[in-house]
């Protein structure tokens, strides 16, 4: 089993304009892409939304990692396509839904690849999210790579005890993961209890008014990004409401094998 899936969501510090952007501006940008992708079902619109992201990925110098997380999502993308197609959607609509998923995933991956958990925490705090909540969130993000490492050790330990993950029929293969999942969940719970105790003994939450050492400040470029996102999104809404987009019609459709759908 490969744990490369997580790599695409792991932060790496690089001196690119995307990495240096204010996390709030970046979040708004991501959300803009996100909302636009959810707005349309038209394939041309979704192609545009996907293509818009490519220069951003290029600017963040993270092609390889981005491609890695796209590859990791491939299976799910194929599943979405097949499910849509089998249950009676047209070929084009199924492709559009797949593209929507790919766009969402790409936007999220881009955000997490280029935003450090610390920046994210600061952004949440300055947006007046209670510290306990923002701390929980950043800790969760930070623990993903640790958990991935744990998962690899658990897999190694169980394989050393003769467990063969890809042996047996479909149901057996699913059951093969029980010896992996239980130790992983148990150690995650143990870890969280230990973390909570360590935090409390270091006075977590002792003073309600925290004074952050670093204060995030938006730069001109950040405001430009936000305005640009707003304009693009407004444009998207306008197109959605008032412009008749051309439709692509490929007359391929699955014969109705499930008449109740």
């Amino acid at each position: 089993m490969s744990l490369k899936v997580f790599d695409g969501f792991k932060f790496a510090k690089l001196p690119t304009p995307i990495h240096m952007m204010d996390p709030r501006a970046k979040f708004i940008m991501t959300m803009g892409i996100f909302a636009a992708a959810l707005l349309f079902t038209n394939i041309y619109a979704l192609i545009v939304i996907f293509l818009v992201q490519l220069p951003i990925v290029y600017a963040s110098k993270s092609w390889r990692k981005w491609a890695g997380s796209m590859r990791a999502g491939l299976l799910l993308a194929v599943l979405i396509f097949v499910m849509n197609f089998v249950f009676g959607s047209t070929f084009v609509f199924s492709a559009a839904m797949t593209l929507r998923f790919v766009s969402l995933m790409s936007a999220f991956s881009l955000f997490f690849m280029t935003t450090s958990p610390d920046d994210l925490g600061l952004a949440l705090e300055q947006a007046h999210v209670p510290y306990t909540l923002s701390f929980t969130f950043t800790t969760a993000v930070r623990l993903v790579p640790t958990m991935a490492l744990d998962a690899q050790t658990v897999i190694d330990a169980q394989r050393s005890r003769g467990l063969e993950l890809d042996k047996g029929n479909f149901m057996k293969r699913i059951r093969n993961y029980i010896p992996i999942l239980i130790p992983l969940i148990v150690s995650a719970i143990r870890r969280s209890i230990e973390l909570a105790e360590a935090l409390e003994s270091r006075g977590f939450g002792a003073s309600p008014n925290r004074q952050p050492l670093i204060v995030l400040r938006m730069k001109a470029t950040d405001y430009i990004v936000i305005v640009l996102t707003a304009v693009m999104f407004a444009l998207a809404v306008y197109v959605y409401l008032y412009v008749r987009l051309p439709t692509l019609d490929v007359p391929i459709r699955m014969p109705k094998i499930f008449p109740w759908f």
């Binding site: 190694d156 050393s160 005890r161 003769g162 029980i178 150690s187």
Partner: protein
């Protein structure tokens, strides 16, 4: 026999962890692998049962190249006990936990029952047979993890940091148990930082540093070589330190455990009288 030739290993995208290791561990040998954190100890033993494949060189277990086998097949002969028991315990009862590997290896139910009962006795776990492994103490969980490997009676046994979290009495028992296993004809390989434990067992020590073998000698030789120990961030065992400081009085430095030190001191005292 476990044999490595020019063994190199690197995790994809990282620099080499093992940088060319040539080793032969014979059947029935008792070996301790020591070295600083990150020296590559755990990585090395993970190549012994095929969990990791060499990026260069070979690992042969009883003559079979690990590349031509599978983890499941190699594990029947090479039992690897991981450092942290929490990475492997998952069953509802200790009994079920011990039966897991035997089921994987396709043993019959009556054999499984017999073997589990024996190992429960041997490792003093019988009273926990129906308990959940999760309610046991750290030391007990560690013993369950050990039992879970010994239960299929592998020919070579590898223990990663077996003494961590064990109290002194348990450590003593563990030592006797390991020596007993070795006497029964098993190859025993332990990874450890515990110089005191090693000084008492006196195995052959393989000293790793930054992915290379920097020392491969009997415990009495290696644990008295000040320069080498420093290089591997180790210190002499306490008795060894004492004997080192008393060497000008004609006491042997090589006496690194309580028993041999006692003998040497008694001898010296008798001579004086």
């Amino acid at each position: 026999m476990i044999e490595t030739k020019g063994l190199k290993f690197a995790y994809p995208g990282y620099s080499e962890v093992l940088r060319g290791i040539d080793l032969t561990i014979n059947d029935r040998e008792f070996v301790a692998i020591m070295g600083e954190n990150g020296a590559g100890k755990t990585t090395l033993v993970k190549t012994f049962n095929g969990l990791l494949m060499p990026t260069a060189g070979t690992v042969r277990v009883d003559g079979v190249d690990t590349r031509d086998s599978s983890v499941a097949r190699l594990s029947r002969d090479v039992g690897l006990v991981f450092q942290n028991p929490d990475h492997q315990l998952f069953s509802e009862t200790v009994r079920e936990e011990l039966a897991f590997s035997l089921r994987n290896f396709g043993y019959k139910e009556d054999t499984i029952e017999r073997r589990v009962a024996t190992i429960l006795e041997t490792l003093d776990l019988a009273r926990y047979a129906e308990s959940s492994p999760f309610v046991l103490s750290g030391g007990e969980r560690k013993r369950v993890a050990l039992a879970a490997v010994l239960v299929w009676n592998p020919k070579h046994i590898i223990l990663d940091e077996p003494t961590i979290g064990q109290d002194y009495q348990q450590k003593d028992r563990l030592r006797n148990f390991i020596i007993q296993l070795n006497a029964q004809g098993k190859t025993v390989i332990i990874i450890t930082h515990d110089v005191e434990f090693v000084a008492e067992c006196k195995p052959r020590i393989i000293l790793l540093s930054k992915g290379l073998v920097i020392g491969d000698r009997p415990a009495e030789d290696l644990l008295t070589d000040g320069q080498l120990l420093e290089k591997a961030s180790l210190t002499r065992p306490q008795i060894g330190q004492l004997m080192h400081q008393l060497r000008d009085f004609g006491l042997p430095e090589r006496a690194i455990d309580v028993y041999s030190a006692e003998q040497a001191i008694l001898q010296a005292l008798r001579r004086k009288r």
